[in-house]
């Protein structure tokens, strides 16, 4: 049982929770995630650890309402308990000093991006962050990202905040302007796919953190398998971060099956028209 200490809505669909989990708070590193089960009937769902406070013994999770399980979680209030929380899972991000890092976050993907941005900044890198979303109210954690970035670019699909356009437009501008040594992309699969295509064009090593479907999170079931460089990998133990240029994003999107076919096509089309 893990008690909810704080809860805040970043947007009508995105909530942030601070949860009691002393052991995980102590052991976690950027890139790690947890699996939780809200109640007896609940699914096991993976959520990246956005932040942790070792002294207070808490971790911070950001969740977007997408289906039953996330809706159930978002309905909980401070003082309520989450039945099961296990972690930290996955491999930690390989944080090192390389020079300039371009960190691209799409939608709720900014939440898992935050600890990575923090890590790279603390390691002495120049960090340029691009936060992208459909509209202003879906831009989250801007203040926290600003604290750890040398520059922040905001992109919205509808132009309601920052600049109008996709994450790739902002990214390309930075790449053409200055030397970028490495890129990290976290967000919807289609966003990562096109960011990866872009950085591949410019030969910039890129990591993407995959939000595969999971059950156990310990390598036991293979629900989370993805193809990387032609080989099958388990996201929960081999990832969640992989070399983006090697990931088969089309397969990932099919496996996620989250969007309806039409929605996905429309979104893909939108992106395709934006990249030359």
């Amino acid at each position: 049982m893990n008690k909810i200490i704080e809860k805040e809505f970043f947007s009508p669909k995105v909530a942030c929770f601070v949860i009691e989990a002393p052991r995980i708070a102590r052991s976690r590193k950027p890139g790690h995630f947890v699996i939780l089960r809200v109640d007896e009937k609940g699914e096991r769902i993976p959520l990246t650890i956005t932040d942790a406070d070792e002294k207070a013994g808490t971790i911070t999770l950001v969740v977007q309402k997408m289906g039953v399980s996330s809706e159930k979680l978002c309905a909980l209030e401070p003082g309520d308990e989450i039945l099961d929380v296990v972690g930290p899972l996955g491999r930690a991000t390989d944080i090192h000093k390389v020079g300039t890092i371009l960190a691209c976050g799409g939608g709720v993907g900014v939440a898992p991006l935050l600890p990575i941005v923090q890590g790279f900044k603390k390691a002495g890198n120049r960090v340029i962050s691009i936060l992208a979303a459909r509209s202003k109210d879906l831009i989250i954690l801007e203040e926290e990202i600003r604290k750890w970035s040398d520059e922040v670019i905001i992109m919205t699909d509808d132009g309601s905040y920052g600049r109008k356009g996709l994450v790739t437009a902002g990214a390309e501008e930075v790449i053409l302007r200055e030397k970028v040594d490495e890129c990290v992309a976290i967000g919807p699969a289609v966003m990562m796919k096109f960011t990866s295509l872009l950085t591949k064009k410019y030969n910039i090593p890129t990591q993407a953190s995959l939000n595969a479907m999971m059950v156990d999170g310990t390598g036991m079931c293979g629900a989370c398998r993805v193809s990387v460089g032609g080989q099958t990998k388990f996201t929960c133990v081999d990832g969640p971060e992989f070399d983006a240029h090697q990931i088969d994003f089309n397969e990932l999107m099919l496996r996620l099956g989250g969007y309806t076919e039409l929605e996905k096509e429309a979104y893909q089309h939108y992106f395709e028209s934006s990249i030359k």
Partner: protein, 498 residues
Amino acid sequence: MTDEKEYLKIEREKEWRVELRNKIKNKERTDLLRVKMPEMDPMERIKYQDREVNQGLSVAQAQAEAVRCMDCVNPTCIEGCPVSINIPKFVKYIEKGEFLNAAKTLKETSALPAVCGRVCPQEKQCEQSCFYTQKLKKDAVAIGYLERFAADYERESGQISVPETAPKNGIKIAAIGSGPASLSFAGDMIKLGYDVTVFEALHEIGGVLKYGIPEFRLPNKIVDVELENLKKMGVKFETNFIVGKTASFDDLKAEGYQAFFVASGAGLPNFMNIPGENFNGILSSNEYLTRVNLMNAADNAFDTPVFKGKNVAVIGGGNTAMDSVRTAKRLGAERAMIVYRRSREEMPARIEEVKHAEEEGIEFMNLNNPIEYFADEKGHVNRMRLQRMELGEPDASGRRRPVTIEGSEYDIAVDLVIVAVGVSPNPLIKNALPDLKVSRWGTIDVEEGKMQSSIPELFAGGDIVRGGATVILAMGDGRKAAASMHEYLQQRVTSNEF
């Protein structure tokens, strides 16, 4: 060994055994036919995911079956049992009507007899080496059924004896994983007075017994009774705790744990790496069974979904494959097929499960191997390509090697494929302990019989040492590890390390 023979002899010469033997002539005993296990009707049972197929023997049936056992001078059945249960002794207690004593006899050596009576491959173990099989060429004494009978009798009588425990010695030890290896280890160590904590990564205790083996073969409540007993004896359980992740071995040592028993299982599912294997609707047996057994996905009241296929192909011929295909049938499959590259004879599954599967209308496509999958435009599997096989020369395992028949490919329609082609050791522990010696397959190397690894305070057993094996072998390892860890810790006590 001679000690053991001696002990068996002394037991056999006890008055009550001699009396029983003299009561009925061997000829009369061997003329009796083996009891039939009462089973739920196949067409009825496939409607339920959670009703046990085998209904268990009645008192009269059990006693009649026990009469068949001749209480041999040289009980070869015991040699076939991986934990050397004193089989004639417990069987004769059943004949005599002392069922609680029969159960007690089982517990001298087996930690979970109600489980083993249900899932042991008896036809390859005790019953295979029974005098009836070996010499008389008749059906063996139904040792497995009788084992289950005695254990169930004890449980249902409400008179389960909670074993006595030695005074607490204050030494903290940890077991990692909560499958049969760990449970039997924990039972022995708590009896010896240790402070035992079992850490489990999942939210449920029991390992494969809970997330893998379905209810229709091993009801959860049977496992739960055993878990309750361990709790009563003082064993502590911590779920949602991955040793090596949630806390490191060093963290646990700092918290006072003096020794570890690693029984983390052979959790990683193998895939065949053939084209199309990552399409939706193709999953490992572990995923399929976990969704259904651990997450209750077949029950609409639970949130976890599971694909319910109409044409289901299960790849493999082991227990996991049988459990998966029979689960699919119960979830409404019209065609539930086993696709196995060898023939029925080489199937590693328990004979009884194969028989039950046949009765339930499972199709066996033996001597077939999948080579490719195809999918619809949404990426969901809709067709698989099979290749026919024939049996060639025996391979290293002694089983005849399957050889492909060129040009024999053909396609069948499928909408759910479950891959059950074996498992590999879980690498979590090795990743946490780079110095730990493991084999080239990733199993932990231990000193034979002692179960001690290359790190002195770390012992290991069960599937993480053997690769995918059996419940009874895992339990046997747990007991060996307990004995040898006890010895190791007592040496440290004597040298004043604590």
